[in-house]
Symmetry: C2
Subunit: 444 residues, 2 copies
Amino acid sequence: MTSELDDLFAFLRFPSISTDSRHAGDVRACAEWLLAKLSAMGLSAQLHETPGHPLVLARNAHVAGRRTVLIYGHYDVQPVDPLALWMSAPFAPEIRDGKIWARGAADNKGQMLAHVLGVEQTLRNHGELPVNLIFLFEGEEEIGSPNLAPFLLEQREALRCDVIAISDTGMVAPGVPTLGYGLRGVTCCEAIIRGPKGDLHSGLFGGVVANPATAVARLVASLHDADGRVAIDGFYDEVRPLETWERTMWSTVPGVSDADFQRASGSPELFGEPGYSAAERTWARPTAEVNGIGGGYQGEGSKTVIPAEAFAKLSFRLVPDQSPQDIMAKVSRHLQAHCPPGVTIEVRHGHDGKPYATDPHSRFGQAAQAALRSVFDAEPVLIREGGSIPIVQTFREILGADTLLLGLALSDAQVHAPNENFPLVNFEAGIRLNQALLSELASA
Amino acid sequence: MTSELDDLFAFLRFPSISTDSRHAGDVRACAEWLLAKLSAMGLSAQLHETPGHPLVLARNAHVAGRRTVLIYGHYDVQPVDPLALWMSAPFAPEIRDGKIWARGAADNKGQMLAHVLGVEQTLRNHGELPVNLIFLFEGEEEIGSPNLAPFLLEQREALRCDVIAISDTGMVAPGVPTLGYGLRGVTCCEAIIRGPKGDLHSGLFGGVVANPATAVARLVASLHDADGRVAIDGFYDEVRPLETWERTMWSTVPGVSDADFQRASGSPELFGEPGYSAAERTWARPTAEVNGIGGGYQGEGSKTVIPAEAFAKLSFRLVPDQSPQDIMAKVSRHLQAHCPPGVTIEVRHGHDGKPYATDPHSRFGQAAQAALRSVFDAEPVLIREGGSIPIVQTFREILGADTLLLGLALSDAQVHAPNENFPLVNFEAGIRLNQALLSELASA
């Protein structure tokens, strides 16, 4: 494992934070490292410019009559704040307690590099792969992949494939092989509430003008009823009800009981839409969440001001058959209609992605199950995922191929949070899984 | 004016921000400058240590049978953020458009130094003052004067006086002499809402746990009804109704119409408790305000987390006969009772101060009116103030003396906000007002 770990650590050291323009150079350096690695393995690799961060593409010599498999991943990562809560620096990877600790260890550098290193081993041991392979790695997944769909449209012929594999999701529990067949979509916006032209003294003006911090709070409070159900008109109209077999299987999947979810979250208790288990709420029900709220004095002590403005950063997780455009239209109408008097509101739309679901019992789904079974020596469980990989829906629409989700992260991976981590054994299993998967897909 | 302005600029250059422990040395340096100034004028001046920032005390040689007048002020200032909105650096005073621009120009360094310089001129011109004078200047007004009441109790005999004068409030309009006879009180707290043990991925946990940012918003939204009336049980129980003569006088006071308040605030429209004018709401009705709200991602772009915690910094302006302790008990009960499920709440109490009202037609009130009339050559208006100077109530309780509020700031002074300013003519009038006031009080 020495050289594999050396590669992973080098990959993790790039602070490739795609949302922060100050890190644009780091994102590019990370892409160039990846390009060099893929070329050195003997693949034909290229860096493709976009209006944002570059894409990295690599392929073996394709042979007619073989299956073509596209493996997707992303080399960009989430921001790291609050930095003070990290136990080791986010871009100085360390091994502690059998885990690799770094931003991106699980999401997605560790999981995607396992595929790269699996291919490297196959090439080293056998000189060739059993399939026609396309590696497609992007640097904008964490900001909604704004430039990937245009690239897919442009390169639709070159990217033609039979099936797509992605490891960017989770295992339900350590050692339990997990095949994901659904993802939530997402749509984001920021509501900016403006009142006075500048901050005001709350003694001289308190009680006379609307306070933007109060207004943003009233607006956010209008998003849910007291039970946690989303209170936006028509929000649930297009939600596909859970099937009976799903509710039955999920009730027996290890590691995803309500108690497991509570333990993993570290919350004092669970809370959410009544009538559903935690797994059902996470995998098959839509949400409205505040990702950030702010306004007024943020420092030590007190400062008696009425702030000039306040904001709420909102995201909505979507499930089949909700549409991001339809939901954002409903959200915008709701925010405008519920904006309190005395302030103005601006709603800035952010990135979005459609929800996804496929059939885990298809030919390729069964091949993925066989690969998982052989690597982990256990029966795979079939789940959906609460997270969003919008590009999976885009792959289906543009390339016409379905996606297998072979997730390797654990529920305490702390993705998008301080102290992100990835078990060493999962990294090693990922390298073997790539080899088993390409072999199974070759004959599926 | 050259030497007076030199003194004011020197005084304004100290970043004496009392709430920020990093500025403790600047607060002390400011006190020492003031001490040196008062000593050089021929007063007997001393710096008194406290557990916080020091007090500065000065007096002339007292003569039996003369009135004793205590003049209070504060040399500490509010924080300056958001710094980017200042047109010139907050601690590099400048004159533009006939105004002095700096943090503390109006609140309170400019107004208090006018008294100091008035006394300096009288001493220079006449060799003595017409009254026994006590200057009492503190460095903790902006953090609630935690060490002033203990000092007053300890020095009760040395500080015995007939009347107190403070210039730390406003004039209703340029050139309109204004006597304040009431102040709002205040009580502050911070509500900290905690949920998951760390920030969570909103895809993996969204819909399963309570979001602290949503919870803090729901809590803040519970503080008011939709019309802007405070919705805390019993909040208005002890509020003294406005007297008819006050509503009549205030309706004719220049510069405080609803349109004036709206223009000064820069808000799109006025908003607040129904049934009262803006002046009545500001001067005689209590409020609940959010001075700061925060939680989750605050940076550029988006980050799809469920934050581990969120906070709201709250302050409540009080009017006679509300008690800070009673209101804070009601606020705490309300916050605990309205805390949404799935999170925990901690309520940290901050500083407080009682509301105040006195009779503007008393002997000393009439002397103050005469001094204002002579300096401004116009009939004074009688108002209350929306701001809080809690120490005024404490003076009454410990020293048994009432306080005259001879405010010189204008409504666009931007106190507690970026671009604080104070007209040069008000600074000059303040120097003359000190001389007229001591003369009138000597014979009152």
